[in-house]
Structure formats: C-alpha cells, structure tokens
C-alpha cells in the first residue's frame, strides 16, 4: 500500500532524512527505529502529509480523513476540555455518532472522570492519553504514531499496547520508537534509520 523510494527531506541545506525506501502492505505494522536526529519524526510527518519530500517518491494512497497521527506534541487545545477538544476534531473528521464515540474512547483511556476539565490541568500522561483518543477518534485506516510510549504513563502505555495488539487486519500501523520493547512483538517489518 505505502511505497517509498529514495525519499529525502531537506530544510534548506540541512538534510533531515536521507534516501529512505520501503514498502508497507495493507494491514502491515512497520516499526521505525533509529537514534535521535535520524529523521524518524520527519519520515512520519511525510507519511501523514504534513510535509512533502524534497526528493524521491512517497505514495500513500490513503485519504487525510482516514489517517490518524500521534505526534511528539499532543495536538489538543490547552484551554478546552477533553470533551470539547474531541468534539471539535470529531466534527472536522465527520465522525458518525460523535458523542457516543467520544464517550467510549474517554472511558477506555480512563479520562471519563476528567472529561470536563481543561487540558491545562492534566498531567502529561493524561494529555498524551487524550492525544491518543484524538488520533483514534475517527477509526483511521492508517495509524501513525511517533514515539507513543515515551510520554505515556504506565496505565496509558498498557492501554495503548492492548489497543495496538487488538488492531484489525484492515488497519495499517507505522510506529517509531526509541525503546522498542513494547512494540517489537507487533512489528511485521522494520526500518532502521541511520
């Protein structure tokens, strides 16, 4: 499904990503590893469409509406509550039965009690869990997670791991990780960036 050939990304003279090539079939689980600064985040941003490659070809035949992204940053509004955040993104992603889905996700990730508090009051682990809810809200076909376990607390990490293991075959996964212990069992293929 996803094809990458000699994908390179430069910011002016700075090369963030050197020639990368890989194939990922539908339903596959790609684990991207590499030290800091090797371009994992850049590659993931290219995959979801936040940036375009400077050279090479990257073919991701998935519509924006079917991609879920968990970034280094939570991508949620500090001043809004969990419910308000998810409601906004639910509208933008045209999620059917929005309220029910939001409720279900918040409950699954242990945020139901705090659902009407502003994100500014959350702990880092809670914020990251909300970010995860945001990424999963629209049941994306392609899930791209950038070092998801680094900012999660223990319960959150367990929840995520369970979530990923239960992911169906029609869902494709791309995960980057520094510490691969939690994800290596899931991976169907690996990509190591220098």
């Amino acid at each position: 499904m996803i094809r990458a050939r000699e994908v390179e990304k430069r910011f002016g003279s700075r090369r963030a990503l050197r020639g990368v090539s890989f194939d990922l079939e539908r339903g596959g689980r790609l684990l991207v590893t590499g030290p800091n600064g090797s371009g994992k985040t850049t590659l993931l941003r290219l995959v979801v469409g936040l940036a375009a490659p400077t050279r090479g070809t990257l073919d991701v035949p998935v519509d924006r509406s079917r991609i879920g992204f968990l970034s280094h940053e939570p991508l949620v509004y500090r001043e809004l509550t969990a419910v308000e955040n998810l409601d906004l993104f639910g509208r933008l992603y045209r999620v059917p039965e929005r309220r029910e889905r939001i409720g279900m996700l918040l409950e699954r990730f242990g945020l139901w009690e705090a659902r009407n508090e502003r994100v500014a009051a959350y702990s880092q682990g809670m914020t990251q869990r909300l970010a995860l809810c945001r990424a999963l809200l629209h049941d994306p076909e392609l899930l791209v997670l950038d070092e998801p376990f680094s900012a999660l607390d223990e319960p959150g990490a367990d929840l995520l791991q369970r979530e990923l293991t239960e992911l169906g075959d029609d869902h494709t996964l791309v995960v980057s990780a520094h510490d691969i212990s939690r994800v290596e069992a899931l991976a169907s293929s690996r990509l190591a960036l220098a």
Binding site: V48, G49, L50, A51, A52, D63, R64, S65, I67, F69, S71, H72, E73, P74, L75, V76, Y77, R78, E79, L80, E84, L88, F89, R91, L92, Y93, R94, R118, V119, T127, R134
Partner: protein, 212 residues
C-alpha cells in the same frame, strides 16, 4: 454545507478559548481606550476634527495588531495547528474561522472604543462607521494570514507589525477618507475592493503557508 460547518466549528472554538483565557479582548479594549486618552493629551487644543480621525485609525490598527499577535497562540501550544492541518477539512477554512473570530474580538473592542471616540473627540457618522467595519474585515483577513506566517518565526512579536503595517496603509486611507471626505462613497467602494481582493488572496494562499 460542510465547509461552512467547519468554519463555524473553528470560529466557535476560538471564541470558547478566548472566553476561558479572557486575555485578548480585555487587553484590546483597555489598549484602545488608553491610546485614545494618550492622543487627547498628544493633540494641541486647536487641532481640527480631521486630525482626530487620523488618530482613531492609528488606534484601530494597533489594537488590531494586538489581537492578531494573539490570534494563533492557542494553535502554537501543543502543536495543535498540525492537528488542524491534518484534518480532512479545507485548509482555507482554518484561516476563515480564525479571521472571523479575530474580527469578532476587534468589533468587540470597537463597540466600546467608537462611542468613546465620539465622546472624547468628534462625532462619527454612518460613513465613518461603515469605513471602520469594512477596514476591520480587511485587516483581519490579511492579518490572520500574516500572523500565521509570523507564528513560525522566532521573532514573531517584532515581525507581525512590520508585515501588517504597509498593507494597512490603504485601509487607513479608505477609513479616514470615509470619515472626512465629502465623497465618502468612493472610499467605501475602495475598501470593498481591498477587502475582496485581499480576502480572496489570503483565502487561496493560506494552504501554502501551513504546509511544508
């Protein structure tokens, strides 16, 4: 229409954020009132009304700048802008929602500022008010785009005024003209032209400013 729904959702979100944070609108209000009072002392007694209108416009532009400087701050925290850009909605809807919200704040500040001006300095007729409203649209449209550009930079507080001020010169001409000229309609028409041209330009080019 889902485009309109997206814009509405985004604009509502901005209003909600401001309602919680409660920093931008009060600051703009206080700023414009203080500026008007400073002008009162800056102008010698014999100055005619026309000069006062000029100062009104200076106050408006700088108040707008204040609002614009804060416009994209909620999106900068936690990198939310990326989240919006990723969404399937048209990227221009993000700009439009933000412009509408910024316009709402500017109008909110002016609801108090304009009567205050009329009280302290000189009366405002219909043409003058129409000029203010039209120029507000222009400055929020262009300013939201420029603010998004500046938001990515390391010296955004310095950069934004430099970007906005040259583009606001025609708006000031239009606004002051509408207030003091016997041919106010010409100036109002000009403001409509400015708004149309630059709004379309901003609408079309926002996409390019937020993606890489």
């Amino acid at each position: 229409m889902t485009y309109a729904a997206d814009v509405a959702a985004l604009a509502r979100k901005d209003l909600k954020v401001e309602l919680r944070a409660r920093d931008t609108l009060p600051a703009m209000l206080l700023f414009v009132l203080s500026t008007l009072v400073v002008f009162r002392f800056a102008l010698p007694d014999q100055t005619n009304d026309d000069a006062a209108y000029g100062l009104l416009w200076v106050a408006i532009v700088f108040t707008a700048l204040l609002g614009l400087a804060r416009a994209w701050v909620p999106e900068q925290e936690h990198g939310v802008l990326d989240g919006l850009v990723l969404a399937p909605c048209d990227r221009s809807a993000i700009w439009l929602g933000k412009s509408i919200a910024t316009l709402a704040f500017l109008l909110g500040a002016q609801i108090v500022a304009l009567p205050a001006f009329a009280l302290f300095f000189a009366p405002l007729d219909l043409a003058a008010i129409a000029g203010v409203l039209l120029a507000d649209v222009g400055i929020c449209a262009v300013g939201s785009l420029l603010a998004a550009m500046a938001a990515a930079s390391r010296s955004r507080e310095l950069l934004l005024p430099l970007l906005v001020l040259p583009l606001s010169i025609p708006l000031v001409v239009g606004g002051v003209g509408a207030a003091i000229s016997p041919h106010a309609d010409r100036f109002l028409l000009f403001l409509v032209l400015y708004d149309a041209v630059f709004a379309v330009l901003s609408w079309a080019s926002f996409e390019y400013v937020v993606t890489e």
